[in-house]
């Protein structure tokens, strides 16, 4: 027995974890794929009819909820990624060389990261409350009138982006800082001796060397930003608010599934969403081979 176990340890060790994940993924994804071809709704146990690609046709021509949700997902992900990477890079560069009080800055960077996202959403909901929130009081002190923030039809999405940036920029900082500290000092020194300015050294030495780490950060953050749910649900509730103003694909699919029990359509949206994520992953890993791990 133990000899058999030794010889087969490769799969003996790996198989249980793989089986666990595979069972929880493969069946659901296959089932979602099947449901997307039916008119299932009401109860998950109700009878449903096979309707082919009708749902896909309906969803892809739906300019009322679906395409706006796609657009919001893309916009949300693009904007938060841009800000998080640029701000994250700036902060990581500030923290790169040792200084006094480093420990305190690191604490401040860690806290938003581990804070529970729904609690963070609630916290900002109070700060951004149009009537009693601190945000408008601050604006008042510098002579700017109150803004609707989360309550406004057009300001809600940017405000949730702001919250995401507050919570997750530190993640990018930590990743980039780890990358920076692992760089060797020699290319920097060489460039300095050659008379390169600090901007030139960053642009032509540090940044190219750091690029693989930047891509890891974009990949990790991008996947999560596409799937953002907690902050949107905590700040705007079901359906992404009364005008669906923060309804991303994830929030839309959740609502279709669990608020409207429209399983056929929600499965269709999910399969499309799934394909988008796989596509983005593929495009990014293609740039950086072997990033799957």
């Amino acid at each position: 027995m133990s000899r058999w176990a030794n010889e087969h340890r490769k799969w003996l060790f790996a198989a249980p974890a793989m089986a666990f994940v595979a069972v929880l993924i493969i069946f659901p994804v296959a089932w979602t794929g099947y449901l997307s071809l039916t008119d299932a709704e009401g109860s998950v146990r109700a009878e449903s009819e096979f309707i082919g690609f009708q749902n896909y046709l309906d969803v892809l021509t739906d300019t009322d909820r679906f395409w706006p949700a796609v657009w919001r997902t893309v916009l949300f992900t693009g904007v938060v990624l841009l800000f998080e990477v640029v701000l994250g890079m700036a902060i990581a560069l500030l923290l790169w060389r040792p200084f006094r009080g480093e420990k305190w800055v690191r604490v401040a960077i860690l806290l938003p990261l581990v804070a529970t996202p729904v609690a963070v959403g609630m916290m900002w909901r109070l700060i951004f409350d149009p009537n009693i929130g601190m945000a408008n009081q601050l604006l008042g002190w510098i002579g700017i009138g109150p803004q609707p923030w989360l309550a406004g039809q057009h300001s809600a999405l940017p405000t949730t982006m702001f919250i995401d940036i507050w919570q997750w920029t530190p993640m990018v900082v930590l990743i980039l800082l780890a990358g920076l500290t692992s760089l060797s000092d020699e290319p920097q020194e060489a460039a300095r001796i050659d008379g390169a300015s600090s901007w030139q050294r960053f642009r032509h030495v540090t940044l190219p060397l750091l690029m693989p780490t930047v891509i890891v950060a974009i990949l990790l953050r991008g996947i999560d930003a596409l799937k953002t749910f907690d902050i949107l649900y905590a700040t705007k509730g079901r359906g992404g608010g009364s005008f669906h103003e923060v309804e991303t694909l994830n929030v839309y699919a959740y609502g279709l599934s669990f608020d409207y029990n429209d399983y056929g359509v929600s499965s269709t949206v999910l399969i499309i969403f799934f394909l988008i994520i796989i596509g983005v992953m593929w495009a990014l890993t293609y740039r950086k081979k072997g990033l799957g791990r």
Partner: protein, 271 residues
């Protein structure tokens, strides 16, 4: 290289802004949790107010939070322990035998949107009469923890030289014996990192618990919504609830900072 003086002044002021921007909202939340609702609505009492424990009384006594804290602890603890049991050996195998494709199967769980799994899970588990119970909640949280643990531990095992095990084999240990008696004790820091991160992510998980928990198994992130009514919000209670949810996890993170940071950045620098 010692930075120049103007740069040091610039850096200090920039970092003060960063620290303030990150900390002020959290401190504001904690401050609001000690205010009565009347004080929260009174802008004159933004900074000066007489602290009251009333909100915490509401949260801990009337809102049943002690029970929810217990639920969150139990789910996060069980999901982490089980995921470590499954994940650590798997990561070892995947690292030593470079099982890239197999690792990808496990890591897929990080990429797939949770909602796409929830409908089928909900269907199967409600047929099995398990929705609302702890088992299904723990299983769903393991789905979050396991890929995280495999990812962190693979990186860790990659860094442990195989020669150590080979030496143990020469001394007469079996492969599994060498893993158990040599590799595992050496990977305690890695396991700690993976375990802490898994606990934090499970504690913070919202969507799975929102659908799969019942009134007896409700976890803290779901329970927060008890303070949001259709017509009005009990702001004081809500901020106290938010503080009760976040504070324990932030304290843990502070004490084991090193592990949290190394877990969050695992694999990032290998390029």
């Amino acid at each position: 290289m010692k930075p120049s003086k103007p740069y040091r002044v610039f850096r200090t002021s920039a970092l003060v802004v960063v620290v303030f921007a990150l900390m002020a909202p959290l401190l504001w939340m904690i401050a609001a949790s000690f205010k009565t609702n009347v004080d929260i609505y009174d802008t004159a009492k933004a900074f000066v107010f007489s602290p009251s424990l009333k909100n915490y009384e509401t949260v801990l006594q009337q809102a049943n939070y002690l029970e929810f804290i217990g639920n969150s602890l139990w789910v996060a603890f069980a999901a982490t322990t089980l995921s470590l049991l499954l994940g650590v050996p798997a990561a070892y195998s995947m690292s030593r035998f470079s099982m890239k494709k197999s690792a990808l199967v496990v890591l897929m769980a990080r990429v797939i949107p949770g909602v796409s799994l929830l409908v089928p899970w909900y269907y199967v588990f409600s047929n099995l009469k398990m929705v609302g119970g702890f088992t299904v909640l723990i299983l769903s949280h393991m789905f979050v923890s396991l890929p995280l643990i495999v990812y962190i531990m693979m990186g860790y095992f990659d860094g442990l030289p195989a020669e150590l095990e080979e030496a143990a084999l020469v001394d007469g240990l079996t492969h599994i014996g060498a893993f158990r008696r040599i590799t595992l004790p050496l990977s305690v820091p890695g396991v700690a990192t993976a375990g802490i991160l898994s606990f934090i992510f499970s504690w913070n998980n919202f969507m799975f618990a929102l659908v799969l928990s019942g009134s007896d198994t409700k976890t803290l992130p779901v329970a927060i919504f008890d303070f949001v009514g259709y017509a009005s919000i009990d702001w004081g209670g809500l901020m106290a609830a938010a503080t009760v949810v976040t504070l324990p996890i932030m304290l843990i993170a502070l004490f084991v900072q090193k592990y949290v940071v190394s877990g969050l950045t695992a694999g990032a620098t290998k390029g």
